[in-house]
C-alpha cells in the first residue's frame, strides 16, 4: 500500500497524514456525514524506530500491537519543578486504559499531554516523546488544534456551553468545517452517547437545564461529534451520582468498539469494572520533602493488576492499604 512506503521512508510527519480507521465513521444511511481526511490506522513497525517496550520500572510491560499512543520517558514539569517523570507505556487501540493512583501522582497531567492541553498552561514543560499512531505529537510541525480534532476530551465537571443542546453538539463539527448535514451529525453523536431518545424532542432547550449525568453524556456526545479516534476522560464520573456513573460506564463499553479510551479515575472499582488495562502511578517523595514527583509503577492487564499485581506498591494501593 502506498502509505506503508511513505511510513517506511519516515515521511509521516503531519497528523493529517495519519490515516484513521474507516470503521470510526459509520455512515448509517446514504448521504450521511462524510469526514474529509479519513484517517486509517498506521501500524507501528517497519520504518519506525523501535520503541522500548519496558516501562521504566522493574515490571515488564506486555506486548501491544499497533498502539494508539506510545510514550517514551515522558516527563512534565511546571515552572522547573518536575511533576511527573519518565512515563513509558503503550496504549492499545479500541480498548479502555485506566490511569489510577493517589492524588498528585500526575495521571491527569499525562493524559493532558495526549491532546496537547498542557500547552494552555504557560509554565508547563514537556520532555520525552508522545507518539500518536507513530507521529510525534510535540514535533515542530504538528498543530495542536489538529491534534485536538482527533483526540477528544471529557472533563471532570461537566462543562456544556450555555447554549442549546443542538448548538453544543454542532460546535465541534462547525469549527472543524465538517461537511454534511449538521442535523445528521448531531443525531449520530447523540445516539452514540445514548442520549438521543432523551433529548430528541428538545434539541433547542438550553443545556444547563439537564441533570448532571445528562450534561456529562452531552459532553461526551459533543466530543464524539468530531469523530475522534481517541477519547480522553479525566475523572468523568467523580461529580456524578452512582446511577449516572453506571450509565456512563455502560456507554464506555459500547464506545470502545469505535474509539480508544483513556480514563483517569480515582475510583478503583471503576477502573476494575471498566478498563482492559490499568496503569498505576504513585507520588514519589524522592530525596526531599518538597519533591513530589509522579511516577509510573506498574502497567498491565486490569485483570492481573487486581488479582495478582507484580509490585507491592500496586498491591497495597488496590487493596486500599494506602492512598
Amino acid at each position: 500500500m502506498a502509505h506503508d512506503d511513505r511510513s517506511a521512508r519516515g515521511i509521516v510527519r503531519d497528523v493529517s497524514d495519519v490515516d484513521r480507521d474507516p470503521e470510526l465513521n459509520p455512515p448509517s444511511e446514504p448521504g450521511a456525514a462524510e469526514v474529509p481526511g479519513q484517517v486509517p490506522a498506521v501500524s507501528l513497525g517497519q520504518g519506525h524506530s523501535s520503541v522500548p517496550v519496558v516501562a521504566n520500572h522493574d515490571v515488564v510491560d506486555d506486548e501491544i500491537d499497533d498502539p494508539v499512543f506510545v510514550t517514551e520517558k515522558l516527563s512534565v514539569s511546571y515552572g522547573g519543578a518536575p511533576a511527573v517523570l519518565d512515563v513509558s507505556l503503550r496504549v492499545p487501540q479500541k480498548q479502555i486504559t485506566a490511569f489510577i493512583g493517589p492524588s498528585g501522582c500526575g495521571k491527569s497531567t499525562i493524559i493532558r499531554c495526549f491532546n496537547r492541553m498542557n500547552d494552555l498552561i504557560p509554565t508547563a514543560h514537556v520532555e520525552g516523546m508522545v507518539r500518536y499512531h507513530g507521529v510525534d505529537l510535540y514535533g515542530g510541525d504538528i498543530d495542536s488544534v489538529q491534534v485536538r480534532k482527533r483526540i477528544g476530551m471529557v472533563f471532570q465537571k461537566p462543562n456544556p456551553f450555555p447554549k442549546s443542546i443542538y448548538d453544543n453538539i454542532a460546535f465541534g463539527p462547525k469549527v472543524l468545517g465538517m461537511k454534511g448535514s449538521m442535523e445528521q451529525i448531531v443525531e449520530q453523536a447523540l445516539r452514540r452517547a445514548s442520549l438521543w431518545d432523551d433529548v430528541k424532542d428538545r434539541l433547542d432547550d438550553n443545556a444547563f437545564g439537564m441533570s448532571g449525568g445528562q450534561q456529562q453524556r452531552l459532553c461526551i456526545a459533543r466530543a464524539l461529534a468530531t469523530n475522534p479516534d481517541v477519547l480522553l476522560m479525566d475523572e468523568p464520573c467523580s461529580a456524578l451520582d452512582p446511577i449516572s456513573t453506571g450509565r456512563i460506564e455502560d456507554l464506555m463499553h459500547e464506545l470502545k468498539e469505535t474509539v480508544s479510551i483513556v480514563i483517569v479515575t480515582h475510583n478503583m472499582q471503576q477502573a476494575a469494572r471498566v478498563s482492559d488495562r490499568t496503569a498505576f502511578f504513585i507520588v514519589d517523595m524522592g530525596s526531599s520533602e518538597e519533591a513530589r514527583i509522579g511516577r509510573l509503577v506498574e502497567y498491565g492487564p486490569t485483570d492481573r493488576i487486581f488479582t495478582n499485581p507484580h509490585d507491592i506498591r500496586t498491591e497495597e494501593y488496590v487493596s486500599g492499604k494506602f492512598g
Partner: protein, 298 residues
C-alpha cells in the same frame, strides 16, 4: 459543674437572654436609622425638584427650543443633543472597550512590563475626575491634533474617554465571569483560541458587557464638567444636524438655566432635571432587566 451535656435541653435550646435580644434590636434600629437618613435626604431633594419642575413639563416644553423667554423655552435641542452624544459614546466605547478588555484578558502576557503598567492604570483612569477629561478633550480633540471643534463628535469622544476605563473594567469582569472550563471545553474540541473566544466566551459574556455599557452611558450623559469645557455656546436652539454640528445637552441646559437670574428659569431647570432623571432611571432599569433576564448562573 454545668457541661453542655449536663445542662437540661431547655437551657441549651431556649431563646437568647433579654440583654442579647435588646442588643440585637438596637443594632437593627441603628441600621434602619442610617438608611433612612440617606433615603430622606434623597427624598427631600427629589420632592423639592419635582414640585418645582413637574408643573413645567408639557409637550411644548419638550418640543421647544431654548429661548430668552422662559414661557417659550424648551429642551428639545438638549434632548436630541443628549441622544446624539449617547449614540457617539456607544459607538466608541463598545468596540474600544470590548477589544481592550479582550486584549488584556486573553492575549496580554502579564510578564511584560507594559501590560502590567496598563493593568495598574486602568483603575486609576476610572477614578480621574471628569473635568480632567474635559480639559484633555478641549486641548486635543476640540483644538490641537484632532481639531474637531465644538462638535457632537468631539463631545461624544470626550465623554467616551470619561467612561472607557469603567467599560473596560466591567467588560473584563464579564469575561472573567465565564468559567475557564468553557474555554477549555471549546479548545479541547479543536477550536482555535480565537474561535473559542469569539464563539463561546464573548457570547456568554454579552449580558454582563451590555449591562456595563448601559450603566456607563447613563453615567456619561449626566457628566456636566467635560461638556462645559468641550461644548458649544450654551444657547443652541437647534437639533444637531450631524457629527460636525454644534450641540447642547441636558446637563448643559440645566446648568445654563440655573445660572440665570430669573426664578422662572430655575423652575425650567428643575423640569429638565426631572426629565434627565427619568432618562437615567429608564436606562438603569433596562440595565437591571437585562442583567436579570440574561445573566448566566454558572
Amino acid at each position: 459543674m454545668t457541661t453542655a451535656s449536663a445542662r437540661p435541653a431547655r437551657d441549651v435550646l431556649g431563646k437568647p437572654s433579654s440583654s442579647h435580644r435588646l442588643r440585637d434590636r438596637l443594632f437593627v434600629i441603628m441600621l434602619a436609622l442610617l438608611t433612612s437618613v440617606a433615603l430622606i435626604v434623597l427624598a427631600v431633594l427629589l420632592i423639592n425638584t419635582a414640585s418645582d419642575g413637574v408643573p413645567e413639563i408639557s409637550w411644548s416644553f419638550l418640543t421647544s427650543f431654548p429661548s430668552a423667554f422662559p414661557a417659550k423655552a424648551g429642551i428639545e435641542s438638549a434632548i436630541t443633543g443628549t441622544l446624539w452624544l449617547m449614540g457617539v459614546v456607544t459607538f466608541v466605547i463598545v468596540p474600544l472597550g470590548v477589544a481592550s478588555a479582550l486584549y488584556l484578558e486573553e492575549y496580554a502576557d502579564s510578564s511584560r512590563w507594559w501590560n502590567r503598567v496598563i493593568e495598574v492604570n486602568i483603575q486609576n483612569l476610572a477614578a480621574v475626575p471628569s473635568i480632567v477629561y474635559g480639559i484633555l478633550g478641549l486641548a486635543y480633540i476640540v483644538r490641537g491634533p484632532l481639531s474637531l471643534g465644538r462638535t457632537v463628535l468631539a463631545g461624544g469622544l470626550t465623554l467616551s474617554l470619561v467612561v472607557l476605563p469603567v467599560v473596560i473594567i466591567t467588560a473584563r469582569e464579564a469575561l472573567r465571569a465565564v468559567p475557564p472550563s468553557i474555554k477549555e471545553g471549546a479548545l479541547a474540541l479543536g477550536a482555535t483560541r480565537w474561535q473559542a473566544i469569539w464563539r463561546q466566551i464573548l457570547p456568554a459574556s454579552i449580558p454582563g458587557i451590555a449591562t456595563g455599557v448601559i450603566l456607563s452611558i447613563a453615567r456619561a450623559i449626566g457628566e456636566t464638567a467635560p461638556l462645559i469645557l468641550v461644548g458649544a455656546a450654551t444657547f443652541v436652539a437647534f437639533n444637531p444636524t450631524g457629527l460636525n454640528s454644534a450641540f447642547t445637552a441636558l446637563p448643559l441646559q440645566i446648568f445654563s438655566w440655573v445660572s440665570q437670574p430669573s426664578d422662572q428659569f430655575r423652575l425650567l431647570a428643575a423640569a429638565a432635571i426631572i426629565v434627565l432623571l427619568v432618562i437615567l432611571v429608564a436606562l438603569n432599569a433596562v440595565a437591571i432587566w437585562l442583567r436579570n433576564r440574561y445573566q448566566q448562573r454558572w
